[in-house]
Amino acid sequence: MMRFLVWIGAAVLGALAALGRLIVFTGSTLRHLVTPPFYAREFGNALFQIGFLSLPVVGLTALFTGGALALQIYSGGARFSAEAVVPQIVAIGMVRELGPVLVGLMIAARVTSSIAAEIATMKVTEQLDALVTLSTHPMKYLTVPRVLAATLVMPFLVGVGDIVGVMGGFIMGVERLGFNGATYLQNTVDFLEWRDIVSSLTKGAAFGFIAALMGCYYGMGSGRGAMGVGAATKQAVVAAAVLILAANLFLTEAFFSS
C-alpha cells in the first residue's frame, strides 16, 4: 500500500514538474517573441519549411478525407433518406472539424517531428552550446522563428485543407454519387457561416503554435545520444497530437457552445 502511494506521489510530482517546465518554456518563448533581436532569415526559412513544403501532404490528406466523408454521409444518410445533405455535412465537417484537426495532426507528424529531431541533434552535438558561445540565444534563433512561422502559416494551411477537402467531397459527389455540380457548390456556400471559417482558421493558428512549441520544447530537453533524439522526437509528436486534440475540444466549446 505504502509503495503504491509513493508511486502515485512520485507520478503526480513528476507530472506537475513537467507541466511547470512546459509553462516556463512557453512563457520564455512568448517573451523572446516580443524582444529583439529577431532572425528574419530563420523566420523566412521556417515559413518555407513549415508552410510551403507541407502543402502536398495537407492537400492529399484533405482531398482523400473529403471524398471519403462524402461517401460515408451518402451511404449513412441513405438509411433515413438524407442523401441530399452531403454537401452541407461535408462542408461543415471539413471546415469546422476535420480540416483543422487533420491538418494539425499532419503538421504534428511532419513538422513537430522534424523540429524535435533537428534541435535534439543540435543539442547532442553541442550546436546549442556553440550558439551560446557565439552570443546567440537558442530560444531566439531556433524556437521563436519556428513557433511564429507555424502560428502564422497554419491558418493558411488549414484554409487550403478546408477548400481541398470540400473539393474532394465535390468530386466524389458529382463524379460518383450523381450530384449536380452547381447545386453542390451552391449548397456548400449557402450553408457555411463566417463563424465556421473563423473557428477553423483560429484552430489552425492554435494548432500551429502547439505543434512547433512541442517540437522545440522536447528538442531542447533531449537526452544524450541517438536514444535521446529518438525519445525526444516521439514524445514531441505524441504531446503535440494530444494537445491539438484537447485544444480542439476547448476551441469548439468556445466557438459553438451557445
Partner: protein, 246 residues
C-alpha cells in the same frame, strides 16, 4: 587574466569539480589534462556560463563573471568544440562568420573575412560554400578553428582539438593552434588527453583527477613531476592511482 577560485559543481551525487582553483595569465596557454570523465569539459562550460557552478568564482580581468551577465562577455570568447559543433544547415562560410553576420558588416564582407580565416587554417576558398557534412573530420576541425578565431577573440577555449584525427592531422591542428594563438596574443585554455597536444600547445599544465586539481606547473616541469597521477597519465600505464574502470 582568468582566475578560478574554489569552483565546485555536482550533478546529483556526482561531484564533478571540487574546489578547483587555477590562474591563467594574459597571453598564456593553459592545457588541462585528465582522464575521461574527470571534469575537464565541465570546467570550461563553467567559465563560459553554459553550466552554473554550485560554488566558487570565475574572475576575468578582475571581474567576477559569476555575478554578472555572461552574455555581455561572450563576444570576447572563441571556442573550438570537440566534435566541431558546426551548424549542419549552414554553409561553411556562414559557420565561420556566424557571429560577424549578426554585426554591422555586410554579408559580402563577412564572406571575405570567413574565406580569409579559412585560408589561415589551411583551407581553400572553395570550401566556403560546402556544407559541413561534405567535409572530412580534419577539415571540420579546421573550420571549427576558423570559427573560433573569426571575431579575433581575446580568450579561446579548445575542447579536445585533436580527438578523432590521425597523428599527422593532429600535428597540423596542434601547430595551427599554437601559431594562431601566438600571433593573436590570445589567452587560451585547452582540454585534452593527447600528450602531443600538451607538448605542442601548453605554457602551463594542470591535471584534473576526480574533480580536483591534482597537479599544476609549467610544461617544462611536467616530465620531472613526482606526482604519481601525472606520471601514470603521461606514461599511459594501466597500473597506478588512476583507476582504469571509471
Amino acid at each position: 587574466m582568468i582566475t578560478l577560485e574554489n569552483l565546485s559543481k555536482s550533478f546529483g551525487s556526482n561531484h564533478v569539480l571540487r574546489d578547483v582553483s587555477l590562474h591563467v595569465p594574459k597571453g598564456q596557454s593553459l592545457v588541462v589534462i585528465g582522464g575521461s570523465g574527470s571534469g575537464k569539459s565541465v570546467l570550461i562550460k563553467c567559465i563560459l556560463g553554459l553550466v552554473t557552478p554550485d560554488a566558487g568564482r570565475v574572475i576575468i580581468d578582475r571581474q567576477d563573471v559569476t555575478q554578472t551577465d555572461r552574455a555581455s562577455l561572450l563576444h570576447r570568447f572563441g571556442m573550438l568544440f570537440q566534435a566541431g559543433a558546426l551548424f549542419d544547415s549552414l554553409p561553411v562560410w556562414q559557420n565561420v562568420g556566424f557571429r560577424l553576420l549578426r554585426g554591422p558588416d555586410s554579408r559580402k564582407e563577412v564572406r571575405e573575412i570567413a574565406i580569409e580565416k579559412l585560408r589561415r587554417v589551411g583551407l581553400e576558398a572553395d570550401v566556403a560554400d560546402k556544407i559541413p557534412a561534405e567535409l572530412s573530420g580534419g577539415m571540420q576541425k579546421r573550420v571549427g578553428l576558423a570559427r573560433a578565431i573569426a571575431a579575433d577573440p581575446e580568450i579561446i577555449f579548445f575542447d579536445e582539438p585533436t580527438t578523432g584525427l590521425d597523428p599527422i592531422m593532429a600535428g597540423v591542428i596542434n601547430d595551427l593552434v599554437r601559431e594562431i594563438t601566438a600571433e593573436m596574443g590570445a589567452t587560451t585554455i585547452t582540454i585534452t588527453h593527447d600528450m602531443s597536444s600538451v607538448r605542442a600547445i601548453a605554457d602551463q599544465v594542470a591535471m584534473i583527477h576526480d574533480g580536483i586539481v591534482q597537479w599544476t606547473g609549467p610544461i617544462g616541469t611536467l616530465d620531472r613531476s613526482n606526482d604519481a597521477y601525472v606520471a601514470q597519465f603521461i606514461a599511459g600505464r594501466p597500473e597506478g592511482p588512476i583507476a582504469t574502470i571509471r
